[in-house]
């Protein structure tokens, strides 16, 4: 009987040790996490790199041709085509929606789909710079990266307005999902201009010429 008591108390100890629920504390490890990102300027730069494939295009990333002059972007007054030019659509499409961040364009409209992924991306960038990164970087760097973010937002709205005319404008990344705020075209154009001007004023002088200088197509 004494042996049994020893064994059972041993088992009890094992039970208690193994019952520690710390073992469950195993968060996903592989990717960066929004909650702990935005620590310094490098983080901001790496995030900004994601915009280049969509805005300063040659072959986008890998072998995409959206917006690449003559390859994807050829339906315009600047080029002519020896073949019959493709037709405009004769009936309304069932959907133009997309949420993909792979650069893509409607060739006949030389602009994006009804895709707000890039608006979300730049809004999120602005939000994180303002609310998370601001305290960790110099005011010079803050102005620079805010300028970059607002430039990209302006760029995307410029594209959307060109294709669709009237588009809902979102100031912040999340709170306005169910709150479509329509602004007229005039407002949006002024907004676009304001954002791009802001960028020109605020970006560090050495980058003043153009953002593509930072990265070149590989």
């Amino acid at each position: 009987m004494k042996k049994n008591i020893i064994i059972s108390s041993l088992l009890l100890i094992v039970l208690l040790i193994s019952s520690c629920s710390d073992v469950l504390d195993r968060p996903e490890l592989n990717d960066m996490n929004d909650d702990t990102y935005w620590r310094n300027e490098t983080d901001l730069r790496l995030f900004a790199n994601g915009f280049y494939i969509n805005y300063f295009v040659g072959y986008n990333n890998t072998w995409g041709v959206a917006y690449a002059p003559l390859r994807g972007y050829y339906f315009s007054d600047d080029f002519s085509n020896t073949n019959v030019q493709s037709n405009f659509e004769s009936s309304a499409p069932s959907s133009r929606g997309s949420t993909s961040e792979t650069p893509d364009m409607l060739i006949q409209y030389a602009g994006p789909n009804w895709n707000f992924a890039w608006v979300r991306k730049s809004n999120l960038f602005i939000d994180r710079i303002e609310n998370v990164a601001k305290s960790q970087i110099s005011s010079e760097a803050y102005n620079h990266w805010l300028g970059v973010a607002r430039f990209f937002k302006g760029f995307e709205y410029h594209r959307l307005v060109r294709v669709f005319g009237d588009v809902p404008y979102y100031e912040t990344p999340f709170d306005s999902i169910f709150n479509n705020r329509h602004y007229n075209n005039d407002f949006l154009c002024k907004f676009v201009l304001r954002n791009i001007k802001f960028k020109i004023h605020k970006i560090w002088e050495k980058y003043l010429l153009l953002v593509p200088e930072v990265l070149v197509q590989w």
């Binding site: 469950l24 995030f47 790199n49 949420t99 890039w118």
Partner: protein, 668 residues
């Protein structure tokens, strides 16, 4: 295993499993003929063009009907470029540690009441690391090795870890083996969820009543030898989802842009749109059953009715518009219910003359319904009350014939532009004028999906189900679906099986028949879609020999039109007539065997000698009108790719094999 007292037992087991997974992918460059295009002119040794007649025999170019000959070009596959030749290796090493401890205590009171108490825990951890690397440009294509490749190197890796911890208690009670009760309570935790949502309780209970054990049921035992009623209800948790669904993770990728130093720039992506509160999915199971055995256990009937609810299912939220800028975040928003029943009957009997027969029949059916999935009422979405697998389509009336149309003075079909008088919704579209001999015609302008397609003789006429004088799909909403209706369901219903066997003095025979009572799919691909693509190069004779033409007006399939790789549109709108009826009966197996008498065999030191003939899948009865596809096929499913094999085309995966075998079984 420790016996503390006679009726108190403690079990402990610990398992450590180590798995290694290695995936080697060798993409060797090779040159082969290109049969897809780019044919080259065929010339003789002097460079003169060769001409052939319609038999393929070379003839002088001046021969009537001579054709210039071509040959296939040579193409280098996985050449330099977007996807060059390479060597790739992915290695994963995983360790699973499983610890189960439980203790059981049996208690018997006054012979009548038997209790069993159980208390335990289990703990599972999984840790894995993987890494892959790839190097392009093989210098030696015969023996591809990392050391023999000279191109770009890429690599990556992942770390996975997860854990589950659970405690459980169970009480069993049996009263004279007559009334059986069981209660369970689990308390489970999983690392897949945010810490405040790790833990959940999951209860379950079950009860059984062996009616034939009752004293007042004894009179029935000559007929009903055993009868048991069963019932159970329980909830268990499901955590088989990826880790980190609740984490706004940002993936890192290399872009094709160079930074100031000339290295490829790295970009960190947009955080995923997520719901922070991801927790257990609940599987709630309710089951009622009866086991009946008649005539000294020769005939058995087992019947079960069940309902399985999957609650808090992790699905994307609904009502998220495109202007959100990301796919709808996933959360515990969904719920679905499966209701079904199983019936099985088996019979065994041996006659006095040595003939034994046995039979087993099964029949089952289940329907899954979406109970909750956001607030959509689109017939293409997961609206509440949707039966899983249902197919919406038009109801086919017949094929249009010459008499339906009006020809102009040149003998051409007369084209008109619809006015509001002819079609309220689709005025302005061009159609072939329909004869109004049988009242006001209903135009199908909405279904003319191609700019050069106009419904004419030999094309499909649909039924105007809602009688509004238009054939269309409305807004594809539950309260406005135009002329669409539910025309079928791709879930197999009424699955049945029958096994018959007999043996007599060493001769044995058995047949196994299996089938599905009802299943429909809308096919995709050249094997099932008439006119799928002009460049397919082949089509089943069932279609090629039975499409509409002016001298075959009673054809099954409509006049041909090239759908250019689509399985819907124009004539081939999803519709009742061309929906594939996938019900079937298949004789899965027929076996005949003979075992030599053991008295004879013992003399040659053999215990058992049997010869047999077996036929697998030799006979299939289907309702596919001769289309060369297997009735068990699932579009896009094969052993190589379970969702999009061969772009999801129907019937192009590996079919069920037919096999016949003759065999000899010897036991020494």
């Amino acid at each position: 295993l420790v016996n503390i007292t006679d009726n108190w037992v403690v079990d402990l087991d610990f398992t450590n499993a180590n798995e290694t997974f290695i995936n080697n992918r060798l993409g060797t460059r090779y040159t082969a003929l290109n049969s897809w295009g780019g044919a080259l002119p065929l010339t003789d040794a002097e460079g003169n063009r060769i001409y052939v007649n319609d038999q393929g025999t070379p003839v002088p170019s001046t021969t009537p009907n001579a054709l210039p000959a071509y040959k296939l070009s040579l193409t280098e596959y996985t050449a330099h470029g977007a996807n060059p030749d390479h060597i790739y290796r992915n290695v994963l090493n995983g360790v699973t540690n499983t610890l189960n401890i439980y203790t059981t205590y049996n208690l018997k009171l006054k012979e009548d009441h038997a209790f069993k108490f159980m208390l335990g825990m289990n703990r599972v951890t999984y840790d894995a690391k993987s890494n892959w690397s790839q190097k392009t440009d093989l210098a030696d294509i015969v023996n591809p090795q990392f050391g023999k490749a000279v191109g770009t190197m890429t690599s990556g890796g992942n770390t996975f870890w997860e854990a589950q911890l659970g405690y459980f208690g169970r009480i069993n009670y049996a009263f004279r083996d007559r009334y059986l009760l069981e209660g369970n309570l689990r308390y489970d935790g999983s690392s897949k969820f945010p810490s405040r949502l790790w833990w959940r309780f999951f209860p379950s209970v079950s009860a059984g009543w062996r009616v034939t054990e009752e004293a007042w049921m004894e009179w029935i035992t000559p007929v009903v030898s055993s009868m048991k009623l069963r019932g159970s209800w329980g909830v268990i948790g499901d955590q088989t989802v990826p880790s980190g669904l609740y984490a706004p993770s940002m993936s890192t990728s290399q872009t094709m842009w160079l930074d100031a130093s000339g290295a490829k720039a790295v970009a960190v992506g947009t955080p995923a749109a997520i719901t922070r509160d991801i927790t257990w999915q609940d599987l709630e199971n309710t089951n009622l059953g009866v086991d009946l055995y008649f005539l000294n256990n020769t005939l058995g009937v087992v019947f079960d009715v069940y309902r399985r609810d999957t609650k808090n299912m992790i699905v994307p939220g609904e009502g998220v518009s495109f202007t959100f800028g990301a796919g709808a975040p996933k959360g515990n928003f969904g719920s679905l219910r499966t209701e079904g029943w199983d019936l099985s009957v088996d019979y065994n009997y041996r006659f006095k003359n040595g003939l034994g027969i046995n039979a087993m029949a099964t029949l089952s059916d289940a329907v899954t319904t979406i109970m909750k999935y956001g607030d959509t009422n689109s017939i293409d979405g997961w609206y509440e009350g949707k039966k899983y697998g249902e197919i919406w389509g038009y109801r086919t009336d017949r094929l249009y014939q010459e008499s339906d149309f009006v020809r102009d003075s040149n003998g051409e079909l007369q084209k008109i532009v619809l006015t509001a008088n002819e079609s309220q919704k689709y005025a302005g579209r061009t159609v072939n004028k329909l004869s109004d001999a049988n009242g006001k015609p209903v135009y199908q302008a909405f279904l003319q999906n191609s700019s050069n397609f106009f419904f004419g003789p030999g094309d499909v006429k649909f039924v105007d189900l809602n009688g509004d004088g238009e054939i269309d799909a409305g807004s594809r909403l539950l309260d406005d679906h135009g002329d669409l209706e539910i025309i079928g369901n791709s879930t197999p219903r009424f699955e049945y099986g029958l096994r018959l066997g007999a043996d007599w003095h060493g001769v044995d025979a058995s047949v196994f028949i299996q089938g599905v009572g009802s299943r429909q799919i809308w096919g995709v691909g050249f094997l099932t879609t008439p006119g799928f693509h002009a460049s397919d190069g082949a089509m089943p004779q069932a279609i090629a020999g039975d499409f509409w033409k002016p001298d075959r007006t009673d054809a099954f399939y409509p006049a041909p039109y090239n759908l250019a790789g689509s399985n819907t549109g124009n004539n081939m709108q999803v519709q009742s007539k061309y929906l594939l009826d996938m019900s079937y009966t298949r004789i899965k197996n027929v076996t005949i065997g003979y075992s030599f008498p053991s008295s004879l065999m013992n003399k040659v030191m053999v215990n058992n000698l049997r010869v047999y003939l077996s036929l697998e899948n030799f006979f299939t009865f289907d309702n596919l009108r001769g289309l060369p596809i297997d009735p068990e096929v699932i579009s896009g499913y094969s052993m190589f790719n379970e969702t999009n094999y061969n772009l999801g085309r129907t019937g192009v995966g590996t079919p069920t094999f037919k096999s016949g075998s003759v065999g000899l079984q010897i036991n020494f």
